[in-house]
């Protein structure tokens, strides 16, 4: 089930999809997108790659086990949720930097939260799919 056409396609689709996923993540607060869809697109990028090159090869690109993305993502999301508590505010209160940053716009805890979501979604989808495909071969 190797196809050189698919393999080559996946070589350049992977960066495109990843780029696009980050794009979706960053603009989520203003336009359709956000952590979920971003994460899903990113994971689809890797899934596609694994279809073309085999799961083992994709895992080499990812370098880390997708499973380990889950706690990282959860930690980022939950810390951005927890941060306000340290400032005496209710959990999850939005915190924002005063000035907007070019390209990204306003930086705030919501963005970190979305980043956490993004990572978790990638971790989850990849864990699920890679575990299955490793199990299937």
């Amino acid at each position: 089930m190797r196809s050189s056409i698919l393999q080559t396609a996946s070589q350049y689709l992977l960066p495109i999809l990843l780029l696009f996923s980050v794009f979706l993540l960053l603009r989520g607060h203003y336009y359709p997108g956000g952590g979920f869809v971003g994460g899903l697109v990113a994971s689809i990028a890797f899934v596609l790659h694994s279809f073309a090159n085999g799961t083992e090869n994709t895992l080499k690109i990812v370098r880390y086990k997708p499973l380990s993305l889950i706690p990282i993502g959860l930690l980022i999301a939950s810390l951005s949720m927890f941060m306000p508590v340290l400032l005496g505010l209710p959990v999850m209160t939005g915190l924002w930097f005063e000035e907007p940053i070019p390209v990204i716009g306003m930086i705030g805890s919501a963005l970190f939260f979305d980043l956490g979501v993004y990572l978790v979604v990638i971790g989850v989808v990849l864990t699920i799919l890679f575990t299955i495909s490793q199990n299937t071969h």
């Binding site: 089930m1 698919l6 336009y31 359709p32 869809v37 697109v41 689809i44 899934v47 596609l48 279809f51």
Partner: protein
């Protein structure tokens, strides 16, 4: 005749008829591969639908959906091919 009306009475009907025809193929089969390509075509037409709809409503935001569709729709087809090559029987 405004563009909106033209879209409503010409473009959309053509597209719906197209979907209908493809859907007939999807139901008829006869093989799973036929259904898979029918599905693929339905999604492609869906992208067209969304594009046309965004022109019709003048809301460019819907194009974002089309981008996603265009990027990942073929994954399903790839998955089906993957499956079919693994199992030579066509359940």
């Amino acid at each position: 005749m405004s563009l909106a009306l033209y879209f409503d009475y010409v473009i959309f009907p053509i597209l719906t008829i197209a979907v209908l025809l493809v859907f007939i193929r999807l139901v008829k089969g006869p093989n799973v591969v036929d259904r898979v390509i029918a599905l693929d075509l339905i999604i492609t037409i869906g992208i067209g639908f969304i594009t046309v709809y965004s022109i019709r409503t003048k809301e460019a935001i819907f194009l974002d959906v089309a981008v996603i569709l265009a990027l990942i729709a073929f994954l399903g087809t790839i998955a089906f091919s993957f499956y079919l090559e693994k199992t030579n029987n066509d359940d």
